[in-house]
């Protein structure tokens, strides 16, 4: 078990910068998810931790050990591949024993550890079976077991659930989290699926275009996104983001949202007048009201069973709201939304950075 320190980590391939100036501290035994769309640099980060790629700049330390120049076989890193990379020409036993054999662990010791690991992962009944043709959840356990048997300080998982269908993914998520609790290892999990990151990780690191944007607990990142990208990327649907300007009104500083009207007084003090901002709120935080609020037309009503999603707005700006499934609204009607000021998030229109913090 080891903490991972990434300092000013950068990686470029020719003129393309895959990762820029990343700083991240991962505590001993922590489960951190690197979350972002494809091409955001998360896999590059993971490959540098595993030793497959050398950083262009910056350093990686495991505990006190600088990893510069340490080959991947000697880092003590367990890696679970997207497709598990099981040695399908070997039996389950030989897969589990592979690393111990390769590093010259004595036969009796090897046999004992393989049996223990098989017992722990419920693989004992299939130990002597060929590993080809096993079901996905067994392959996942085998892939984890094969790495875990080497007692690596760090476990890296590269989108291990992306080849699994949606229903099964839920089962696997639970199992994976369960395994991590048992192993108590430092785990870094790469995914583009926010649900996986939210449900499993102790902390989420959201990345985009080679930059680390925000690190925090799932709830914190969800509730207080540090910029517009994180706000829009997390949540399904993501946060509604309306361009607007601050305007002085009798009740206090409000946001002028153009054709949608004027918002209720803003919850952030100290903003100057006539400043370009982005006005954000989560789709589940708006309510229909007959009183004051922002007015806008409904463009589409999406009924998904448990909830109903209203698509609202105009060509330039569309927003969504999540309501009860029997919400009495039809396409083309105008609605008025009221939003609790506590749930409003403001961002700078130019930099995209958040202008609020949780209070």
């Amino acid at each position: 078990m080891t903490a991972i320190h990434l300092e000013n980590l950068s990686k470029s391939f020719g003129s393309f910068t895959a990762l820029k100036d990343m700083n991240l501290e991962i505590a001993d035994g922590e489960f951190v998810a690197l979350l972002g769309p494809s091409g955001c640099g998360k896999s590059t980060t993971m490959n540098m931790i595993s030793g497959l790629l050398d950083p262009s700049e910056g350093s990686i330390r495991f505990g006190d050990r600088d990893m510069r120049g340490v080959p991947m076989g000697k880092r003590g890193v367990g890696f679970v591949f997207q497709n598990y990379a099981i040695f399908t020409h070997m039996s389950v036993y030989d897969n589990l024993a592979y690393g111990l054999k390769a590093t010259g662990v004595a036969r009796s010791e090897r046999d004992r550890r393989v049996k223990d690991m098989a017992e722990f992962l419920h693989l004992t009944p299939m130990l002597n079976k060929p590993s080809a043709g096993l079901s996905v959840n067994i392959l996942q356990r085998l892939a984890i077991g094969r790495s875990a048997i080497m007692e690596p300080a760090i476990f890296l998982l590269d989108e291990p659930l992306s080849n699994v269908d949606a229903a099964f993914r839920a089962v696997m998520r639970t199992e994976l989290k369960h395994l991590q609790r048992q192993f108590r290892q430092t785990m870094v999990y790469v995914t583009h699926d926010q649900l996986e990151a939210m449900t499993m990780a102790d902390r989420i690191a959201v990345m985009d275009h080679g930059k680390l944007l925000q690190v925090g607990t799932p709830i914190d990142v969800y509730n207080n996104p540090s910029n517009v990208f994180v706000a829009g990327f997390l949540g399904s649907p993501g946060m509604n983001l309306l361009p607007g300007r601050t305007i002085a009104a009798p009740a206090g500083l409000c946001a002028d949202l153009g054709s949608f009207g004027i918002s209720a007084p803003l919850p952030v003090a100290g903003l100057s007048e006539d400043r370009a901002i982005v006005y954000g709120f989560r789709p589940e935080h708006c309510e229909l009201t007959s009183g004051e609020g922002i007015r806008l037309p409904v463009t589409f009503v999406e009924r998904i069973g448990a909830r109903t999603i209203l698509h609202m707005g105009n060509k330039e700006t569309s927003l969504r709201g999540v309501f009860d499934n029997d919400v009495p609204v039809r396409t083309g009607e105008n609605v008025t939304l009221s939003i609790d000021p506590a749930n409003i998030r403001l961002f700078d229109a130019k930099t995209g950075d958040a202008l609020t913090e949780a209070r």
Partner: protein, 314 residues
Amino acid sequence: MTAAAIDTSPTPIEHEDVRDSRKLGFWLTLPAQLLVLFIAVFPILMQVYISLTDWSPLDGIDWWQAHQLWNSFANYTDLLDDDRFWSALGRTALVMAICVPCEFLLGLGLAILFVDNFPGRRFLYSVLLVPMMVVPAVAGYMFFMLFQSGGPVNDLLSFFAGSPVRIAWLSDPNLALFAVIVSDVWQWTPLMFLILLAGLVGVPEDQLRAATLLGASWTTRFVTIVLPRMKTIIIIALAIRVIENFKVFDNFYIMTGGGPGVATETISIYIYKVTQQELIWGYVAAVALVILITLSIVSAYAIKRMSQSRETSQ
């Protein structure tokens, strides 16, 4: 040649439409079947027939009258006592035992080099494949020239030795065998290389990385991941070369004519000489038939092994 390897699949349940379509299929394929009959089955039957006689084109009777010279199995019993046949067969086996492993190891080595990218890889790749494209007879002439006593090989050796070297490569029995083996290895290593490279490229990258992360050295990875993954393709490559090498003729015949004496006489050259020079066709037919059957058994065994390894590797 591979008739022994064809599986007889279980007969499906007969329905009327199946019977009908089968009848139609019979008529549609009849011309092709007749053709096969004439180009494959007929000559073999003819060969079996002649192999049981003393017939020769010089006898003045046509081949279908060869039964007048019927000698039962005398040709086959003669074969058992024919020292030249057995030594040619033994020599063919020796050539194979040297050529095929050399070509395999060189081809594998080259494939390992070429699996990673390096500057000039594409160019060298094309260059490496050139020998395979050369007509074997032309390759034979090339090596015939190279191994002349005043030829480039001796010139090169002279350069390193510092004094003139005049080795009579093609007229010394042992050196002649060496020279023809060199020509075969030169010509067919590229094929091995090509097949083995295809196999090597097909080894999953992730599995190699996984093995590396588990602490396996290059050698361990090669033995435990690469070779088992390439098993099928290695068997195919070896089978192709064994069968081809058994029939080796062109470059050997041009370089040495099987000589000096019979020092490089392989089974194909032996058959050719007995047919063309001694004209005892009945006997040759028997020899050729024995070899055909032997090769069929070997290739059937190889194909069986291939399909078995395919089942286990999946």
